[in-house]
Symmetry: C2
Subunit: 189 residues, 2 copies
């Protein structure tokens, strides 16, 4: 294997891992993972110490996509209120995809039930960043209690992603009304 | 095995299954399950067709405890508003237990990712009953849109249980304030 091959093996493995863990859950084995990625187990273990590390790295790799929900460009949203609502509009749009299974970070935390797992640490960090982004907009928008509002928004965000991912909620017309009520109550115009 | 032994084998198996699946997730194998329950695999397969059926029955068996959250006695809550808040207060109390992993029904849906699994059907039914209980109280409480309010309350309930179960939220002081805001906005006095 040459040095230039290595990134592509790694990328292939992490993309397959992200798709497979998201679709079927964290209990997917190394065999199935390597088969799907078209990567030998030997190559996998040259790159990563364990399946746990592959899972963690695959979540890290998708973080840009997740963070984009909370960082709209100026053409997408400008005021703090719009920027908060943007994340929920994007969530609502994502949730209608037939293969939508909810937020991958929340799912990993629910499935692993193990705070010490390296993938749990990645998932927790993503959730903290999301909450931090909401808190920042809440502050900028003049919320009476930005900390409280950010926590409330995360409850809604994770509740909505889990329920729509599980097929027990369609989110249709739900997010804008609910988030709007909380923003109004917090004094975010 | 005598007929009178059968219920106790079944109960032992279902209690162990409920504890084990809740603690470690749905991928727990038949070996570990039977070992923990102190039940032979032969006995298990005499009672149930598959591990899937054991999981479904173990969720069904715990349903009374879950439904109690949404059906307080008259000494615990009287008005519709109080009855709705009661469920969230109970959730907040439950969430501080060191072994709390969130709502078992939501967890099973997130973990299985399979609407056709018999345990998914049980979990969905429980979630529908909870939403129905909220809707009934919303109607009785004069909510402008009882359907909308019930869906909002379920978002909060499942968001709160998932986040506190995953150790990324403490719920401290969060539920009463948030639910109160939604009840106020819906016109439930």
């Amino acid at each position: 294997m040459t040095t230039t091959d290595k990134p592509s093996t790694r990328d292939r493995l992490l993309d397959a891992a992200a798709d497979l863990f998201y679709r079927d859950g964290v209990s997917i084995g190394v065999e199935a993972l390597c088969r799907t990625a078209g990567v030998s187990k030997r190559s996998m273990y040259q790159l990563f110490d364990s399946k746990e590390e592959v899972l963690a790295a695959s979540l890290e790799r998708r973080s840009t996509r997740y963070e984009a929900l909370f960082a709209p460009g100026p053409e997408e949203a400008t005021t703090p209120r719009e920027r908060i609502l943007y994340a929920f509009r994007r969530l609502e749009l994502a949730s209608v995809a037939p293969d939508y299974q909810g937020c991958p970070y929340l799912a990993v935390l629910v499935e692993l039930k193990d705070p010490a797992h390296p993938a749990s640490a990645v998932a927790r960090a993503m959730k903290e960043r999301a909450e931090g982004a909401f808190r920042e907009q809440a502050e900028r928008g003049g919320a009476r209690d930005p900390e409280l509002l950010a926590r409330q928004l995360m409850l809604l965000f994770d509740g909505a992603s889990a329920r729509s991912g599980a097929g027990i909620e369609t989110l249709d017309g739900l997010m804008t009304a609910t988030v709007g009520t909380l923003l109004d109550a917090a004094g975010v115009k």
